[in-house]
């Protein structure tokens, strides 16, 4: 402490040496730095291990990657020559992702506008907790309700057997709706009030203000909300798997059964022998899921870069 001034020189007291260094600081800093390094290591090892494993079907089993991605014939264990074409599943994944985003985007952004522009009080008191609870419902529960309510409903009233691309889209729409709404609400709320007042002062109605001023101003953030919703839809496995029917062909109509990358992986990874060709092709699907989820991150980053301008 400072009392020592009388005895020791400033150099001894104030120059950092091992004697007067605070070792708790060194230890603490090291501890948290190690945790940061663990996060980096986790990300890298997820990428490296899944990439290494996912590429085995091409490097070890000599499957042609182009044929793998574009062939519509998925017949890993059937009679005749085995064939590994995953295009139907890629198609299924893209179809459920885009269709559910198509429905959830207007609903979610609408709910966001309701909360920020139309009725902030009701929005905060009722809609906000409602959305938080919807986020909290586990995906198997969504899948289960889809299975016991939605599938019979579709079977009885619409073409097909109930299990369908359509049912998958409905379940995913409900699941990503709260995600889209939450992020879109943040985006709308962060708009400066001057925008609203300026537009209203010019005599614009509320709807004109929303459509011509607020939505364009918040557009990059609203797109971020949609992309994050799509990322969630794309990666969801169990809920979709329970209602989509999991067939190996490209659906002809939306009421046909279908499958996605996630549902095929979920169903088969436990049943196939580790190291077999079929098993390896499933790991390749896992790698595709990983790559596309990274792609979503880069899209979000690009959008948030635009937001700053």
């Amino acid at each position: 402490m400072a009392k020592a001034t009388v005895n020791t020189s400033a150099e001894d007291r104030l120059i950092l040496t091992n004697k007067n260094r605070r070792w708790d600081e060194v230890r603490g800093r090291s501890l948290v730095t190690i945790c940061a390094i663990i996060m980096i290591a986790a990300t890298i090892s997820v990428t490296v291990f899944l990439a290494q494993k996912g590429l085995q079907s091409f490097t070890v089993n000599n499957i042609n990657p182009i044929a793998y991605l574009t062939s519509t014939n998925w017949n890993p264990v059937g009679s005749g020559e085995a064939s590994y074409g995953i295009f139907p599943f890629i198609f299924g994944s893209l179809a459920v992702t885009f269709l559910s985003a198509l429905v959830a985007a207007p609903l979610g952004i609408g709910a966001a506008i309701f909360m920020s522009e139309i009725s902030p009080r009701f929005g905060k008191k009722v809609l906000q907790p409602v959305i938080e609870l919807l986020v909290g419902i586990p995906s198997v529960v969504y899948g289960f309700i889809g299975l016991v309510v939605l599938v019979p409903l579709v079977r009885d009233n619409l073409p097909g057997i109930g299990f369908s691309l359509f049912a998958g889209v409905v379940v995913l729409t409900v699941m990503i709706l709260p995600t889209v709404t939450t992020i879109a609400t943040d985006a709308m709320r962060s708009l400066p009030d001057s925008l609203r007042q300026g537009s209203m002062a010019l005599g614009a109605t509320r709807w004109q203000t929303i459509r011509k001023v607020l939505i364009p101003a918040a557009l990059p953030s609203l797109l971020t909300a949609i992309v994050l919703g799509m990322a969630r839809a794309f990666g969801e496995a169990l809920a979709v798997q329970m209602v989509i029917g999991n067939s190996r062909d490209i659906p002809e109509t939306i009421f046909d059964t279908s499958a996605t990358l996630t549902t095929i992986v979920t169903l088969n990874i436990g049943h196939t022998t580790y190291g077999s060709i079929e098993n390896n092709t499933l790991w390749s699907m896992g790698l595709i899921l990983l790559v596309i989820s990274f792609l979503f991150i880069f899209i979000v980053r690009y959008l948030s870069g635009r937001r700053k301008v």
């Binding site: 996060m39 919807l134 289960f144 109605t205 004109q208 896992g286 990274f294 979503f296």
Partner: protein, 295 residues
């Protein structure tokens, strides 16, 4: 007035959307609880599940869910809090920090089935453990860490700058300031975040299917030796959780009373998540009041 009519219509549509969302939640909760709660009985909660016959309970699944959650949080909370402290207090703006941020975002956005695949590869196959509780917990840790990091970072950043300066200006190191000033103040925020994250972990299934597995050995709840095969505390045993159980009975469908068991399990799951939510809010506000109270 044309624009006035459009404005009215638009407002009407927004009200409809809001009503749809509220109705959706009410319907989901009504459905889950009205079908599920009648199934919940003491017997249902305390008897083991049955593989082929009707009348099985969810005792082991319920225990497994809480146990995996517990192990996951034991690993995640220290790692996540330290990571958050690093990001809030030690990370200097620059390329490395940016890279860590990208890593956190990537981990956060991994689909849970991909996390499950990674867990299967590392904690099941490469380590040779097979399906284990610890493998499941480590997989869950991977996508839970980013949540805890973010929660901690936000909570620390919300501590008034003046308090931090006060401590540093007294000749106290940054680390001691973190321990004695920042973390206590940020505690309610971190706790709330951790409980909300627990709700998410509790309901997770896809990452656990192929890490903790789809089965549970016969357990002897009197055996507390964590190394014993039949001890519920053994972390190197397979463990089917409640969420996984709901998926498994519906997909594999070997028992005759699928609907009853699934209804009951879904209700228990949703109630648990609901309790986590309410608990988080309540505890957070109580502790906050206690910390900032003037007496």
């Amino acid at each position: 007035m044309n624009s006035r009519i459009t404005d009215r219509i638009a407002t009407g549509i927004f009200y409809t959307i809001a009503a749809i969302m509220v109705a959706l939640l009410l319907y989901l909760f009504y459905f889950i609880l009205s079908n599920g709660v009648p199934q919940i009985s003491w017997d249902f909660l305390t008897s083991p599940s049955s593989a082929y016959q009707a009348g099985g309970g969810i005792r082991d699944q319920l225990f497994n869910s809480f146990y995996i959650l517990f192990i996951t949080m034991i690993i995640t909370v220290p790692l996540g809090v330290c990571g958050g402290v690093y990001m809030a207090e030690y990370a200097k703006p620059g390329k490395i920090t940016n890279f860590i941020r990208t890593c956190i975002e990537m981990l956060a956005s991994l689909p849970s089935i991909v996390v499950g695949l990674f867990g299967l590869l590392i904690f099941v196959n490469i380590t040779g453990w097979g399906y284990t509780i610890i493998g499941g917990a480590l997989a869950l840790t991977i996508f839970n860490i980013p949540v805890m990091v973010r929660v901690t970072e936000d909570a620390i950043n919300s501590v008034p700058k003046e308090l931090k300066e006060a401590s540093l200006a007294l000749g106290i190191t940054r680390w001691h300031t973190i321990k004695t000033v920042l973390l206590p103040y940020a505690f309610p925020g971190i706790l709330t975040g951790a409980i909300l994250a627990s709700g998410r972990v509790f309901g997770e299934a896809a990452a656990l299917l192929y890490t903790a597995g789809l089965s549970t050995p016969t357990l002897d709840y009197g055996n507390w030796n964590p190394l014993a095969e039949n001890s519920p505390l053994n972390i190197f045993r397979p463990a089917e959780t409640l969420a996984v159980h709901i998926w498994a009975v519906n997909t594999q469908g070997l028992i005759p009373d699928i609907r009853e068991v699934a209804n009951g399990a879904a209700a228990v799951l949703v109630i648990a998540v609901l309790v986590f939510n309410i608990l988080a809010r309540w505890l957070g506000s109580v502790i906050h009041k206690k910390l900032t109270a003037s007496k």
